[in-house]
């Protein structure tokens, strides 16, 4: 398959706010169920093990007209909950049999309660994760949370989820994570062959496709993009951070790239890369998922840094391992997690002499010119700097 064919398919999935792919998957066999989840992380393995399709819900983007959703939120709250409510109230999420609201911030937390009230016939769960990282303390708590999810989903399908099913699910998600790790490494090595606007769409496809199909798609993309003949530009290599929840419009990602930046790492859809290493496919599956979370997971604002010196470590690693020359802080307006984290990360970067720039966006930001200009100036300054 050509790069274009793959990307076109992903773009169609991305643009389809009616989740036809989910409906098709459900229709293909009787009794199939789909479970939605929001950022930043849920163990999709458990949903998959229950024979259900995990569906990542990332708001309505810039194509959805939000009418009802605005009536539920004050002007000073970010966009993603209102467009998500809009998706729900307009019936676009009827194909979901349940929704998981992970622990990320008070807005999504409270949205879990709103969902319980607005969609009474659906399975709704606030999914908490530990902020204490010892196996006997945070781990014990977390394993119990995982058990609840497993039991709930088992009940929903009418048959308990077995350990073997969980182990198999861990296996297919390990495959998927490997493929995505390869994709990220590929982009960092040859960013001119894998523009982020494309990588983003390939990742987004994983929000609605079954995991094995997505893994194949990622592999196909890497193969096709490696073979493509694309010119290499003298762009600045940057990490984009802060985009872990409400999504910037695709046009904004393109604008950053068109302004002369190669995005070589980011925090888009962290759920796909949250667990940094393979999860053992033997042993007690829930305990393995817990250990992976506690000891080998990514970092983001919603996760406590147990020690002061841990702050910014993950971002510095992204910069170092990807050979980035600067960091672009992109945060949704009114996003406390991203915006409160930012000054600390900036301070760490400043101490390491890593340049950065920062702006805010909303999922429906229409004006790209100022951001393009800012990213362009940033890219130029990096190049001047490295030339000096």
């Amino acid at each position: 398959m050509s790069v274009k064919a793959i990307v076109d398919r992903c773009e169609a999935l991305f643009e389809d706010l009616n989740f036809q792919a989910v409906k098709d998957w459900k229709a293909a066999a009787p009794g199939r169920k789909a479970i939605g989840y929001m950022p930043v992380y849920v163990p999709r393995e458990i949903i998959h093990a229950a024979g259900m399709l995990p569906v990542g819900i990332l708001g309505g983007g810039d194509q959805l007209e939000v009418i009802q959703g605005d009536a539920y939120y004050q002007s000073y709250i970010c966009r993603i909950p209102r467009s998500t409510i809009e998706l729900g109230l307009t019936g676009r999420l009827d194909c979901l049999d349940g929704m998981l609201f992970p622990s990320i911030c008070d807005v999504i937390r409270n949205l879990s309660g709103m969902w319980q009230i607005l969609f009474k016939d659906k399975y709704v769960r606030y999914f908490d994760v530990p902020q204490e990282y010892r196996d006997a303390v945070g781990g014990a708590y977390y394993v119990h949370e995982l058990e609840i999810l497993r039991d709930d989903l088992g009940r929903l399908r009418g048959r308990p989820v077995t350990d073997d099913e969980l182990r198999a699910a861990i296996g297919v998600y390990n495959e998927n994570r490997r493929a995505i790790r390869d994709l990220y490494a590929f982009r960092a090595r040859t960013p001119w062959l894998a523009p982020t606007a494309e990588v983003y769409l390939v990742l987004r496809a994983g929000m609605v496709l079954p995991v094995d199909e997505h893994t194949r798609l990622v592999r196909d993309y890497i193969a096709a993009a490696s073979a493509a003949d694309r010119p290499r530009r003298d762009n600045a290599r940057v990490v984009v951070t802060g985009v872990f929840c409400e999504q910037p419009p695709l046009g904004l990602i393109k604008s950053i790239e068109m302004a002369g930046c190669y995005i070589v790492d980011d925090d888009f859809m962290l759920v796909t890369r949250w667990l940094l290493e393979d999860v053992p496919e033997t042993g007690n599956p829930l305990e393995e998922l817990s250990r992976a979370f506690l000891h080998h997971s990514a970092s983001t604002s919603a996760k406590y840094d147990a020690r002061r010196e841990d702050k910014g470590k993950f971002l510095l690693e992204q910069v170092r391992t990807r050979g980035a020359e600067g960091v672009v802080f992109a945060a949704p307006s009114f996003c406390d997690p991203a915006l409160l984290e930012r000054p600390m990360l900036q301070d760490v970067l400043a101490k390491h002499g890593i340049p950065y720039t920062a702006f805010k966006y909303a999922e429906n930001t229409g004006q790209m010119a100022p951001i393009r200009e800012q990213a362009g100036t940033f890219a130029d300054s990096i190049k001047l700097w490295s030339a000096a």
């Binding site: 807005v107 309660g113 009230i117 908490d128 530990p130 902020q131 010892r134 997690p337 984290e341 600390m344």
Partner: protein
Amino acid sequence: MSTPTPIAGPESRRKPEVQKEDAMWLQKELINKNYMELARARGEGRKVSATFVPGNLNELLMCFDFARSLPETNALQNGMRKKSGKFIMDAERDGQSEDVCTYVKADLGMMMGGEIGPTGDPLPTPDVLLLSYTGCFTFMKWFELIRHKYGCETVMLHVPYQGDGKIAPNMRDYVVKQLQENVIPTLERVSGVKFDIDRLREYMKESQKAEEDLVAVLQSAKNRPSPIDGYFGAVYYIGPIFTAFRGTPEATQYYRVLRGEIEQRVREGKGPVTPEGELAEEKYRLVVEGPPNWTSFRDFWKMFYDEGAVVVTSTYAKVGGVYDFGFRHDPDRPLESLAEYCLGCYTNLNLPSRIDMICKYIEEYQADGLLINSIKSCNSFSAGQLLILREVEKRTGKPAAFIETDLVDPRYFSAANVKNRLESYFQMIKQKRTAAAH
């Protein structure tokens, strides 16, 4: 979170010959005493802790002899003293976004100005930050920011959210284990004081007594007329118990005296005391959801009492602990009960529980309706409030209204707007009543 502890009270205008037993006088003394203790801490070689109001483990901190600072209270004090505006702008110049919680910025701005607290006395940088992570995500960032800048030792106490509207045993065990394995050992190390569980039990016995009296005071508003204002007045009442005094004999004494005074008012059929004296006629009885505005607190209150509106109860008066449905600190199960206290704070309840609670209040306090003061700073309170409003209206049939202000950022208090809204709301209640009477 919006923490209660304004110094002095509505009756502070009383002449200086107020009696020593006078509850307001005692409250003022208590709060000032804490600032003095903090001011003297360094000189006396005493260690200083900081922690948040929801889920504050005051009894536990006292076991280690800490002088105890509560950053939200400092922020609100600075708000009432009109100092917060500058602090917020200083913090924004230092890199904080205009979009984020202004309590955090007021605190960071104050710290940037040196070790001076709201009263003008020294306020030392804390030796330990007890991150009671209860009911608000911003708390985590707040203390991470302070730790990042000032290097304070920080200890996390992760309190799971009541997503299902109940406290599961697993949640309680997790909090208890953190107390045993992390929080207590850290506090021992920082303070150099060995933990004594019997000392904790003694404090908790005091807490119980004060809690009992506080509930009687807050529930006195079920009377007609209500002898108290359950929002503007209650922020003074909850001051000691939600901050550095729960568990002390002084707090017990304060609540006993306060209860006595309020019960006397009930017997005499008196209404609440406002900054301009006793309210002559109770025209409207309201339930309020959301914290107050601090920068224009008096003006805000005046908009109510000028119209004869009394807030009979508020969710805000439960931010530092929901006691009116039976929870008490339990010396027989000290750590479990501390865990349940943290888990049960108002902002740790899910939205359906918050709605149930408000509907219950409207019924039990015979309120005319619900007023939501939506705080720009506070996603924990504010996200979802418009649904709360709809649901409460639907379930109770009582009118609800919505206003928007901020805690300590004077830029977000528009007196004219708020007043307009309130006036039309009172009008609406009146019309509903007349309609019902016909």
